[in-house]
Symmetry: D2
Subunit: 282 residues, 4 copies
Amino acid sequence: MQIQNFKQVVDEYKVIFFDAFGVIKNYMGLVPGIEKTFEYLEENNKPYYIVTNDASRSPVQLAESFHRMGLKAIRYDHIISSGMLAKEYLDLKVHHGIVAYLGTANSAHYIETSGLHTLPVSMVDESNIDQVNALVLLDDEGFDWFKDLNKSINILRRRNIPTIVANTDTAYPLNINDVSIAIGGIATMMENIVGKKFIRFGKPDSQMFMFAYDLVREQMPIGKKDILMVGDTLHTDILGGNKFGFDTVLVFTGNTLAEDAETRITSSGIVPTYICDTAVIS
Amino acid sequence: MQIQNFKQVVDEYKVIFFDAFGVIKNYMGLVPGIEKTFEYLEENNKPYYIVTNDASRSPVQLAESFHRMGLKAIRYDHIISSGMLAKEYLDLKVHHGIVAYLGTANSAHYIETSGLHTLPVSMVDESNIDQVNALVLLDDEGFDWFKDLNKSINILRRRNIPTIVANTDTAYPLNINDVSIAIGGIATMMENIVGKKFIRFGKPDSQMFMFAYDLVREQMPIGKKDILMVGDTLHTDILGGNKFGFDTVLVFTGNTLAEDAETRITSSGIVPTYICDTAVIS
Amino acid sequence: MQIQNFKQVVDEYKVIFFDAFGVIKNYMGLVPGIEKTFEYLEENNKPYYIVTNDASRSPVQLAESFHRMGLKAIRYDHIISSGMLAKEYLDLKVHHGIVAYLGTANSAHYIETSGLHTLPVSMVDESNIDQVNALVLLDDEGFDWFKDLNKSINILRRRNIPTIVANTDTAYPLNINDVSIAIGGIATMMENIVGKKFIRFGKPDSQMFMFAYDLVREQMPIGKKDILMVGDTLHTDILGGNKFGFDTVLVFTGNTLAEDAETRITSSGIVPTYICDTAVIS
Amino acid sequence: MQIQNFKQVVDEYKVIFFDAFGVIKNYMGLVPGIEKTFEYLEENNKPYYIVTNDASRSPVQLAESFHRMGLKAIRYDHIISSGMLAKEYLDLKVHHGIVAYLGTANSAHYIETSGLHTLPVSMVDESNIDQVNALVLLDDEGFDWFKDLNKSINILRRRNIPTIVANTDTAYPLNINDVSIAIGGIATMMENIVGKKFIRFGKPDSQMFMFAYDLVREQMPIGKKDILMVGDTLHTDILGGNKFGFDTVLVFTGNTLAEDAETRITSSGIVPTYICDTAVIS
């Protein structure tokens, strides 16, 4: 396992895609020094995109949170979230009625679209259940797990409607020791119980990368060979990036620790093009 | 699909095993007339056993609930529950310390055993986590899903201890329309997140049938051919009974409706020896 | 379940995507009358694309087979196969050495690319195994299952290389009664045994639809709303089309029979936008 | 991770159960010195049983193979194989007609039972398919994989009959580098394709342990606490033994290497009661 210098790797590509959590920030805040990476990209005219499985907030809110942490360079229109794909799906495929959701009001605000009414699962009842035309799983917070997960199951038994999962992760780190169950983990339990096929957006699925790739190509003529995907998680960032045809780099500031990397790469068969300690260019 | 008369089927066997929910009772109470079946068995000296995936109460409490409903014939020592297997496991394999649990105080009371201290997951903290030597999943009620499911995940990341699931069902019927997520469904989600192998008790697992079969054999010389298993669910009662070597009968008073039975039998490949409308002998 | 007229559905869209097997042809040959559909599309200047999980032949060979059957209208450059995605992956991500494959020589011929040497798994040995940089699963024919599946497993235990599966189907129909195990079914068995993550191309994966969508957009300004996906299989054509944002139509000339459609749609939760008996415009 | 002396562990128990492959023998032949273990057991009047997932031969043939290797102590009536459970199932549950099988003639010879006719899958045809009342998967050798796996799938689509899998392993070691796909791995692929539930016998399933436990109890009054299960594989020997209520010991002469043991125990959550280098008592 050869560790390479991130700056030298970046120099080989025209556009850089970053995962957010575990690469730019983690549960302690910004990865120290990461602002220098974005300065370097700007100086060298290398566009970047953040490709994140975070559907709890809109790109504008995600950008603001980076700004509050001190990373001013991140522009909202350079952030691609799995929530954007959920929103696009609703725009294209659900034309009227109610979209019931599990998540915070914030996460739901973002998917609102003309002609559709968003409603928390807790407020679905006999008077409106016949108008529910989609269920969207956005976030693990903002609802009563016992009441609303059971209610969601029974809505899906009554209504043959699409269920959209806007985050494929099963858990996320809370601090150095602990994790929290993510909505993607809950979604799999619900899918098994109702026996129906949910529609999932988020890495490693190609649709995330396609969305970002389309945005880049609108601005410059470019091929998949010119793009580098930077991530901390083999099963999402690296598997998805590889499959889409990008070169990939694994960093050690998040889910994958330096001491476990070789074992995990061998046992999973998911091989990044490069391995770097960090995405910080110092 | 040939429907047979339950009394004629019963007459061919020496001992009858019954599932509880969906055969003797359902969400509306006792299956009307079921008390006549137990009168008939008594008159004809045919021992019966109730083999149930219900770990929420002790056999004594389960028997009392039948008595309150009006079915006086059911004796507690003829009830085999998956909770009994959880209790046997703890007796044999966990010799000291704390057994943390998810479920009601009632369900936990039953698994108490000398030398072990049972504690709800909500009361595990830094002061006692190092003494937690097993986690037992008993019931879907009696705890805060959000707090305690997340806490359970993190206990299992800190302690390499056995996790016992005392009910393999993923959901159970609440009323004619609605179901409720069962602890077995939650267990699968937790197992996937922590990546560890849980120990499950309950039909279709052979251990349930073996426990009952051992009890019968203590009382009379008998073979598997002499026992009939009566159930409403193909994937638990019928699959498990068939695999153990019992003849099986599917009834339509619970999970499997008469109109769906043929499709479900064909698509699952789980074929009962007999099909009857009900376990009521009228 | 309302059955609609295919011509009226088609009239609402600018571009039509078709699955091949079960829509245009089946095990008996061309679907009778299907040539009229392509005449109608031509007359009305509606471009079409064939989007198929068939990686056993190149688009040129697939087009020729349509021509031999009597459907002259199908142009090779309107056929998108999962084999094309496998080829693109190798072009982008594997730069030298040997690509070992399971499949016929025909299927392998198509994925040949400059700088890479394709070799059937049967010809991998101690002298060349260290140069094997990818394994591609193309077809269920053209190799000895016992010898070459076992050999493939052991290659993957020795070499930490990407495994590409160019067909996600698990089985395909041979005649009215019988099916044949497809390479996608074999791939899952191998993946479980070696414990590694394979890279799969083919519907319902978005990458198939993106490839076709990119081709269309090179020729005309168009959005996802303007495209109709026609298929016979809920889990591939309809699920994948829906997820990508296309409207979808289910037809009954292949995997889904008219009498089963409603049950399957309800139990899977995969709901086509329209249902038509056939894609024939008469 | 504390390594203990096998002799001292054995001294704590009255009866010892052994896995065969990886404990008593491996691909190189007998584990050197293992005959001393059986001498010690005999001297100390400790009964032993071999509990093996090998359905390719009868207990008599398995015992003879130990004798040929030089281990004369192993008696055939102390060997419990998953093939015995398959045979018991057929005796109890299939009363007439043909049992089709995948495996060698040797493996099928053993499951022959009065009134049933065993027939290799290759010999099932239109003239006899209607009499086929069970399919048994015994061994990965003795048939043409391509022809007979496809044929088996189509038999199961035509006949709604039980499928019995007499070996749950997915692969087995051939030599220090290579493995071979086992019939249990093939069974999972077939089960997924036909969508039916197969009946599996073999560790970690409790039925294996129950069969052996019943044999022991016929000879001496004994409880689960008095029995030690010795195995080399966490997911079969140790998980199954633990669940049944036995104390367990992991040895390093087979599937689990000393250097991997701690990682595997932690990541799987399957914790043996003891860990020893070997089952040899020197």
